[in-house]
Each structure stands twice: as C-alpha cells, then as structure tokens.
Symmetry: C2
Subunit: 300 residues, 2 copies
C-alpha cells in the first residue's frame, strides 16, 4: 500500500525515520547520523527536506516527529506537557512547526528537590509500550530508558506521573572522547565492567570514584584498554544505585526499554543489585507510540 | 647572585618554572602553556630543552621537576612513594630522567574501598607548606588542593598519611567544552554558583543532579549564560560534601592550598556547609617544597 505518513524519532545522537501505510504498517525505514547534537542552529528544516524526505520517497507526506528535535537545540522548542500525562494529553499538545510537519511535545515534572525535570522522545516510547497491551496500562510500572540522558519513568494506569533524568550516556561519551579516561574503540571487557559496577558504591561520591578509573591504571597496573568498560560499569552502576533511591522505589522491578546493547548493560547492573527486570525493544516502542499518537490525531 | 638550580612545577594543564640562587631565592620565573595534557608522547624532553631552558637562561643548570611530568603521560613514570611519607621519604626517592634532570616522585595509598589512589605534585605543595613553619609540622591537618584532579590530604606530624582524589576540575572542563552544558567564556554568576551548591545535595546521585544543569534552562527559564557557574557550584559542592565523609572527617577544619580563584570557590562551598577553613597560596608552597627537597638532596 502507498505510504500515508512519515514518522521520525529524532534524538540527540541519531534520527530514525519510517514511512507508514494507512494501517500503520511500515513501508520503508532509514537511519541517519543527524542527531540534534550535530546540527548547526537553524539547520534542521533544510536537512529534513534535503536528506530525510528524499531518501524515504516522502517528499509530499505529512510528518510526525518526536524527540530532541522539539527542543531549543532542535527545530523549534515545543511547549512541554506537565505530568501526569498519558496518550490523550500528549496527542492533544502535538504542535506544527510548518504545514504538515508536526512535533510531539516532551514532558515536564518537578523532581529532585523541586527542580524542574524534562524529557523529549521518551514519552512516545512509553506511550508506545503502553499501547502494545491493555495489561501494560494497568497498575504501577518503573520504566528505565537508557540513552544519552537516561530517563526513569513512574507510570500509573497508563499515565506518566513523574520521572527522573540522568546524564550517564553523555558523561560516558565526553569522558571517553576528551578526558584522561579516553578509550575510543576498545572491545567490551566484562571483568572491567564488573569492577566498575563494584566501584560505583551506592551512587555516592562519584567525583572521587571517577578518579579510580585513572588511578587503577596509573598506580595499580590495570590495562589502559580496560578503561572504557570500567568507566561504563562505574557510571551505569552509579545511576542504577542512586535513581530508584531518589524516586523512593528501591528494589522495585524495572522495565528496561531501549536499544539492546545499552539495556543489556543496565540488566547486568540491576541484576548485581538483586533487582528484577524485564526488557522491551525501544525501536518497536517508539514506532508504536508514533502510530498511536497519529491514530488519535486522525493522521492514520 | 647567579642561578644554581632550575625548578619546575609541571602539571596537567601548565608549567611554572623558576631559577634559584644557592640560597634558594628566586632569580627568574616563567609560566608556559605546556601542561602534560597538551604534550605529544615523547615530547617533554625536547620542549624542556628548546622552550623552558632558553627562556630562563638555564641551558646548563641542573633541574628538579615535580608534578604530572613524572607520570606515564609525562616525561617518564617515576615510581610512587607509598604513604605515610614526609620530606625525607620523598627526597630520597627523587629519580633522574637524564643526567642533571631530576623528578620528584608522587605518592600512592589505598583509598576508597581499598582502591589505589595516586597524586603527583601535591606532595611537593604539601611538603612546602609544612616547611614554612614548625607549627605546621605538629598535629593533624586536612588539606584540600583544588585543581584538575583535586586532592584531599590527611597530614599527621609532618607526614602525608593518606589522601583521596576527585575528578572535579577535569569534569568541569570537559563538560564546559564538549557537552550540552557548553559554557565557554561566561562571566562568573555568584547566584547561579550558589544555586549549584544547593543542588549538590550531599554529593550523592551526581548523575541525576548533573541533568538539572540542562533542565533548569530547557524547562524552567534559567539563563543559558548561567550554566557554567551553576555547574561549577554543583561540582565543587558535591566534592566538598562527599570527600570529608569518605575520609571520616566530616566537619573538620580544612586548609585550602592552591590558586586563589579556585580556593575562593571552595571556600564559599565549605562555608555554606559550616566548615571552618584556612587559605594558603599554592605557588608559594610548591616553590618552598622544591627548595626543601633540593636542600635535603644537597642541590642548594
């Protein structure tokens, strides 16, 4: 069947795009190294028209986008929806950035000590997972979405009631590329990852613990090639220890929703803390979320 | 009087050099943007001969160096001295990297959960401060040296008995240059610095707290120009909260030893936690330390 809608998950580090037929089934899919972090200011619209639309044969299709593209460093800042919010509230606040290009709003809540917290893209992934089964929409869930800025969402009866962000993915990336802990292109070292998890403690005193990634090499003979995996374990371990505590949900079962490689590392970290977990695929979820929002808006 | 010795504090981010007369008084001083972090592998000796020696008219003088230049990313790795260590132990382990170029060893101890911890350069600064008065060499001291990798030294009767490192300065630098928290060249904003201190909590959950530096701008209207000062407050606040607790020295009086600008920020952070403090100049201390070591070795 011919494509009826172009949908995109356009995040900080990459862009995934699909064309959908009127039934919501995928006609074509493409991935672009066009993360918002790599865009110059004001560049999003042009690159969407010149690169994304042609590759998917979607020159004339209406488009629905979600993710960091809706932020002040993306195409244009779309106002956040305040928690609690479910499919209806999110779909109602979808905003046009031009005729037939629509962006899903992110969510906002009061988190840590009353500070503002925000997310963009994770709302669509959560909505998508909730749309996959009526059972998902009943009762309480703690959902962790690993990524550049990981998000931990508390869901009650199909609504995101609050959430808490972390900085783990970006911190790993900048330290790996630009610090004395540089570690480009090393193979994953499971033993070093485990040592990093053990060194994470309870997610306290991270500034002191970070230095052990240097001192274990400089003063204790650890292989420099193991630094990346150690650092990964240290950071993921610190996030997994601290975040449920801040949410008041220590020991609660966690749904890991995201890319397999990242979720697998979080699964090891949770398992070492004795936390039960489930895994769900992030790409399937975000696509289901875009379909659910488009349907409610009458775009499919 | 003619110069008798060239001494250098050659750290991660800069190099300070002095020529001294036989009495230990300064003949000439120069600062170079030649931090070890900016050196290519194997480059230290050549740049020392071609840039440092000529500028100070020290082509033929013996030289005594301290700092990161003695590490595996510097001129050559000089073996660490294990704690506890004072002037005698440190001076005895000074090592030659070539005829008449000597490097002061760093210190090593077992810190956090039995992990190895190391420092280079801070031993000389501590030794120098201790050398300035017999009173300094009596009893117990907690000394904080801010920097790329801040060090907190516990000193008993003139000996460094243990210490704990942090990653604060380097983390601030890489986040300020390479992350979504980029903030090059902004003026210091005292109110944002205070807000960062308040957001640091007890130095726990830093990965979550770091994201507030983004969300306060993206979702709560804070000025992007205040990000650097907020981030500085958040990181210094987290270090100052966590490190004395890990050392079992909560609330103990702290001697801040270092550059004035950095010590002033740490002083505000300590003051907000009700911790009494003293200030001492880092450059005077490291120079005094190099003089004390040179004298004990018979180089002055």
């Amino acid at each position: 069947m011919a494509a009826a809608l172009l949908v995109c998950d356009w995040g900080s580090t990459s862009l995934r795009a699909w064309t959908l037929d009127p039934a919501g089934d995928v006609v074509a899919r493409a991935v672009f190294p066009l993360g918002v972090n790599r865009l110059a200011p004001g560049e999003a619209a042009r690159r969407f028209d010149e690169e994304v639309r042609p590759r998917l044969g979607a020159a004339a299709l209406p488009a629905l986008l979600c993710g960091a593209i809706g932020s002040n460093v993306g195409w244009r800042a779309i106002p956040y929806v305040d928690c609690p919010a479910g499919l209806a509230e999110i779909a109602a606040a979808v905003a046009a950035v031009r005729e037939d290009v629509w962006i899903v709003p992110g969510l906002r809540c009061r988190g840590l000590g009353g500070a503002c917290d925000v997310l963009r893209g994770e709302e669509t992934k959560a909505i998508g997972w909730l749309s996959l089964s009526p059972d998902h929409r009943r009762g309480h869930r703690l959902v962790c979405q690993p990524g550049t800025h990981p998000k931990w969402l508390v869901i009650e009866d199909g609504h995101v009631v609050r959430f808490l962000s972390a900085f783990t993915g970006e911190l790993f990336a900048v330290l790996s590329a630009h610090s004395i802990l540089r570690n480009d292109g090393q193979a994953h070292d499971p033993a070093a990852f485990e040592a990093g998890l053990a060194a994470a403690g309870e997610g306290d005193a991270l500034l002191n613990r970070l230095y052990t990634a240097r001192s274990r090499v400089a003063g204790d003979g650890a292989a420099p090639e193991s630094t990346g995996s150690y650092l990964s374990g240290l950071l993921v371990g610190a996030e997994v220890a601290a975040t449920p505590r801040l949410l008041g949900l220590v020991g609660e079962r966690v749904l890991l929703l995201g890319d397999k490689a990242a979720c697998d590392r979080y699964a090891v970290a949770l398992d070492r803390r004795g936390v039960a977990l489930d895994l769900a695929d992030g790409e399937a979820a975000v696509l289901a979320g875009l379909v659910a929002i488009a349907r409610l808006r009458g775009q499919l």
